[in-house]
Symmetry: C2
Subunit: 359 residues, 2 copies
């Protein structure tokens, strides 16, 4: 049959070290409130609601974050918020969710969603979402491509046929998936007009995905197939022994690049932003007349273009420009906005050197 | 007689708003530990000790600071640490101290010292100090001039005769006192070679100073003369009614500019620094290989020339240069070092706007 009930898998295991010191293991990017009153994962659930009611959502996260996510999302059934027993990449996580859903609903059609992005035009987004579910229900493996706005080297790309029309709400044959390019290649991609950002949003019938895993990732597939039914009281303990043995590999690399036919939507601008650094948060937030964005209270003198996050403390800025200032009880970040991308790497390096829990 | 016991008056009523948020009313610049383990006022007492034992020191401060100064200086008799009942300029404060000393020792020779400066070569300094006391004991009004190192517009100047020799340890006739000049004038002063900075260090017999006050500041002189002896139990209450009525005027303006004969020493470099801003503290402190000066713990990546004062908190610097970062439990300052001079004015303005206790 062509239809099937829709389910959503929200991947929420990321750490978001680029948002240190606000982000910590137990308070990663997806549960932070950068803009407005709802965290990124709450915004994700809110945004999906017209297509996927919270009862149809499953969330994969880790032991550090699960309690906070349960707290933030009372509308999602608690048993559907799972902690992965080990940090693996997206293929085992998605495979696990597909196994569970398949055992609940053999006709399940699932969408996979990052938990930590923003979308400023959700109505436009939902049009593509509905079309993507429809295509997936027909047995297709489906990806949403985002029309690129600059030659980003931090994303993978989806190559569509030449002369692709952005914004067409019908599935196209994907020519190839391309891994993160160097700047020269990315520039060529963006100029070409038929390369789109791969934003990690995928749609398929669980049966289709499980078939693909069996073919392209047999070891992980066999491991996951050895799990008892989700309702079984031994499920959690079995998962603990099985999951860490799964391959540490992305779904892009394991499945999408190998599948002979993948469909994609060449979406136009629905205001997608992966909120990749403090600078992205700065860019997304409304600023004052001097371009300062402030969470908390700041007094700016001859200062412009700064991002300040220091709740519960008065911040005085004197003659400073384009800084990111994030204050927490035990750590303070002062970064130039143009260096904000480096924060995560630096923090990870520091933590390796120190081994005393920066994160 | 030409000799007389030496006394020191340390003026410690200043607020040091340029060191906000570290400086507060009850924790002003002079009691802060910027460099080393001793506060500026402790360093002042330490430095004077070879010439002025602590029993001969008197300290004038205010009600906010007195308890902290008493705590920091157990070697100075507590009764000699006085809080002025109102904020006045240096003339009433010095006049008050002269009155008290005169009643204790009619032959007293007093030196007046700021409480919040640094001197890196104290042995050289003491040579001038001894010579200055000697000249004062002979009835002279004496000032120490500091050889200028740049055309500072924030200090007054002492004009010596042409072709003055820096570093001569004998008193010279001062031609004139000059108030804070504009930059053009200051540049001319420095070029001329016979203009020295007035660093607020004065020496005189108390009897000579009291005579001068009687002549040039009769109202304040009469008011102070109406006080009972220091040992009198009504002294404090009388002071409360008398002191606020004294004129708000500096000793430079009231006496030094009017006295027909003032002697001065054209000192050479004994490492005087008035620690006028966070930038001065930065300049005085030893930095790391990247020129970062850190109190507390900071991790610097592609960052140089920064001053960090954030004890009890980890600070991460990423791609920032020449900043002053001062963190306290309720306030955080981020200033460019080149704007550090403005911090005090800005904080005073803010406080006037807010009226809720920044300081």
């Amino acid at each position: 049959m062509a239809s099937g009930r829709h389910y959503g898998l929200i991947l929420a295991g990321g750490r978001g070290t680029r948002f240190w010191p606000r982000s910590r293991r137990a308070h990663a990017k997806q549960v932070l409130r950068f803009l407005g009153q709802r965290s990124l994962i709450q915004q994700t659930v809110d945004r999906l609601r017209p297509v996927l009611p919270p009862e149809r959502l499953w969330i994969l996260t880790n032991d550090y974050l699960r309690a906070e996510i349960v707290r933030q999302l009372p509308e999602v059934p608690k048993r559907q918020i799972l902690a992965e027993p080990a940090q693996r990449n997206t293929a085992p996580a998605i495979g696990l969710a597909a196994h569970i859903l398949q055992s609940i609903d053999p006709d399940a059609v699932m969408g996979v969603f990052p938990s930590d992005h923003m979308i400023s035009k959700p109505r436009r987004y939902l049009q593509f979402l509905r079309a993507a579910f429809q295509a997936a229900a027909q047995g297709k493996i489906v990806v949403l491509g985002i029309q690129p706005r600059w030659p980003e080297t931090g994303y993978g790309y989806v190559e569509f046929p030449k002369n692709v029309q952005a914004g067409s709400i019908k599935p196209l044959a994907v020519r190839r998936f391309r891994e993160k390019p160097d700047l020269k290649t990315a520039t060529r991609y963006v100029k070409s007009g038929n390369f789109y950002w791969n934003a990690g949003m995928f749609f398929w019938k669980t049966s289709v995905l499980l078939d693909a895993l069996r073919e392209y990732l047999p070891k992980t597939s066999t491991l996951l197939a050895s799990l008892p039914a989700f309702a079984n009281r031994n499920f959690a303990s079995k998962l603990k022994s099985v999951f860490p043995r799964c391959e540490n590999i992305s779904i892009d690399y394991a499945v999408l690049e190998n599948a002979p036919q993948v469909s994609g939507f060449a979406t136009d601008d629905f205001g997608w932003n992966d909120v990749g650094s403090w600078n992205a948060v700065y860019q997304l937030a409304p600023g004052d007349a001097s371009g300062n964005v402030v969470r908390g209270e700041a007094l700016a003198h001859a200062s412009s273009g700064n991002y300040v996050d220091a709740e519960g403390k008065l911040v005085a800025l004197v003659g400073v420009k384009d800084l990111v200032i994030v204050d927490t009880p035990d750590a303070l970040l002062i970064a130039h906005r143009s260096s904000a991308q480096e924060v995560g790497e630096i923090v990870k390096q520091l933590e390796q050197q120190r081994r005393d829990g920066l994160l």
